[in-house]
Subunit: 92 residues, 2 copies
């Protein structure tokens, strides 16, 4: 295995790692234990990685960060929806 | 701002993003909403990033991944401890 393959495999793993979290949140319809700051900071950071990737014209950086941003935006949306639904439920 | 600064700032943000999650889990003593697979896959992926960083002798990769691995190991430990505590609590 060359260094490049190692880096690509590492990038693949760190990119797909969010998927089980999205699935779990979707199934439980509950996200109170999840900090809203993690997706917010990550999305900001990955948007900068994406900008960096565009500037240095690096396709793997562009692809990986676009994919991860989409996943974390979905997680953020699920968290906001489920937290709000829960708040409405408790005040009734 | 040069490209390097942009990359370094992006890396800083994506590295520290896990901290609010560790703090939230520590405070709530509850982690059922968190998927155990996200930290497990991330730690594996970042260990490979670390190996890649050592192979190509890249200090930022080594520093950022060592820091993040430590944070995610702590989060994983908290999740295991709190989930187990909760299971023991329900079966009593």
């Amino acid at each position: 295995m060359t260094n490049d393959h190692l880096g690509l495999f590492a990038g693949f793993l760190t990119s797909v790692a969010v998927l089980p979290q999205v699935v779990r949140t979707w199934r439980r319809k509950h996200a109170q234990d999840i900090s809203i700051w993690q997706p917010l900071i990550l999305i900001t950071g990955m948007a900068l990685w994406l900008a960096y990737g565009v500037l240095i014209n690096d396709l793997p950086l562009i692809v990986a960060n676009t994919f991860s941003i989409a996943c974390y935006l979905l997680l953020l949306l699920l968290k906001i929806v489920y937290d709000r639904r829960e708040r409405v439920g408790t005040t009734r």
